[in-house]
Symmetry: C2
Subunit: 258 residues, 2 copies
């Protein structure tokens, strides 16, 4: 496909699937900002992280083509969507990748499991300013009216200012009460506990359903994204694709003599 106009080219994807309310609301609010190409999974892909699909062939379906908006679905993961769009669909590099709006929080350690953030990190790997945006409400009919406002603000800021190489944004929007504004945060240290509900299948065999509760290691730290969300702020965590713990490189150097 050809994209010859000067409008910003914006790639939109998500992990709840192309028909989810969150991505539909996002498309509507972002449409005025440029030429929009949507390539999103055909169904839910929550918790897919940065998973890719090495052993199964992928398929792409064009669902809609109108002025400045083309919508595709694919059979792959959120990261596959970004890869397919950039490698196979778009004739130029997008100016922005937005993933979301996710139904449910991706704050704290959830960034690691999140398909929404997997797609945003993937845009970042391609050197494209990228962010993921999530609402702290899992319900399929969640109210995205506040979330779209902030998604639009962040999109405009990123289009205007860009983002440094290797850094994308993890944006989360609280679901309750009046929103006080945006807060630039750090990733809350914590983990999930009590993660499985043990149950039985129809023939009496043990099965395990993923569930769990988030344990916040630093609930009073006002710099963290969980604190921001609990206190009525939209949290924005600048997040990087280089996982190197630089402070450890020197500390382990003595192993080189082992």
């Amino acid at each position: 496909m050809k994209h010859n106009n000067k409008k910003p080219l914006i790639l939109i994807t998500n992990d709840d699937g192309v028909h989810a309310k969150g991505i539909q609301c996002l498309i509507e609010v972002i449409k005025p900002l440029g030429e929009i190409v949507v390539l999103a999974p055909e169904g839910p892909r929550s918790g897919m992280s940065s998973a890719i699909t090495p052993y199964v062939p992928l398929r792409i379906f064009r669902l809609k083509q109108e002025e400045n908006l083309t919508v595709y679905s694919c059979t792959g993961t959120p990261v596959d969507c970004v890869k397919l769009a950039i490698n196979e669909i778009l004739d130029r590099k997008p100016d922005l990748v937005i993933s979301g709006i996710n139904h449910g929080s991706n704050a704290a350690i959830c960034i690691i499991y999140s398909g929404t953030m997997g797609a945003a990190l993937e845009g970042c790997i391609f050197g494209i300013p990228s962010f993921g945006v999530s609402l702290t409400d899992h319900s399929s009919n969640a109210d995205f009216s506040e979330a779209v406002k902030y998604a639009r603000i962040v999109a405009e800021k990123v289009l205007e200012e860009g983002l440094p190489k290797g850094i994308c944004l993890n944006v989360n929007v609280p679901n309750e009460g009046e929103i006080k504004g945006m807060k630039i945060c750090t990733q809350t240290p914590g983990r999930w506990v009590s993660e499985f509900m043990k149950s039985k299948d129809g023939s009496g065999k043990d099965i395990y359903w993923l569930t769990g509760v988030f344990e916040n290691f630093t609930p009073d730290d006002k710099n963290t994204d969980e604190w921001a969300l609990t206190n009525g702020y939209v949290s924005i965590v600048p997040s990087q694709i280089d996982l190197t713990a630089y402070q450890m490189v020197d500390r382990l150097k003595h192993w080189e003599n082992a």
Copy 2:
């Protein structure tokens, strides 16, 4: 199950599946170091990153129980394996999580897509010293004789010295030539390009197979893991689960007034 002896408890998993040669070689070489519990996917889960399984129930199968070695498989992802082991199988926290030995490199940006490293990062999230280990040879019958030597050295070092909270190790072993030793490295900046082979299915419809070539942005940087592997060293990248780009937090603070 009960683990009442004083030996270190070591959890082993992988992403190539419990029957892969890499994990079998790893089990053999690690067995003398402690009580070993293996919980690995029943089949291949390459490229699963930190994916979890929210919508499908998981099953666990016990395959083997002998002195100091119990082997389970499960229907989930590598991260599910670590979660199931810690939440449902083990009666105490392991002293070490090892994921591997992977058939194929997980250096550079592959840490983000790798199920092997997903499991190692998960052990780290639980506060357990953890590492992933990979051999730069994809073949199912790869020669793991050098890789197991280094897996054992790293396991002994980590059991002895521990690892700081939030940091695990990404260990890769080169497949060719004489190995010169271990090198503590940084994650190579780069990305995959030319990622799909377009093909047709049996009814003539377009399909896309994931493939690609790694583009190294800094091939001459002797600090990186790709340089180490190319030059005959085992690469060890200390890697962290906190993705916050701290240097960006202040730079974006002006957005709070938007």
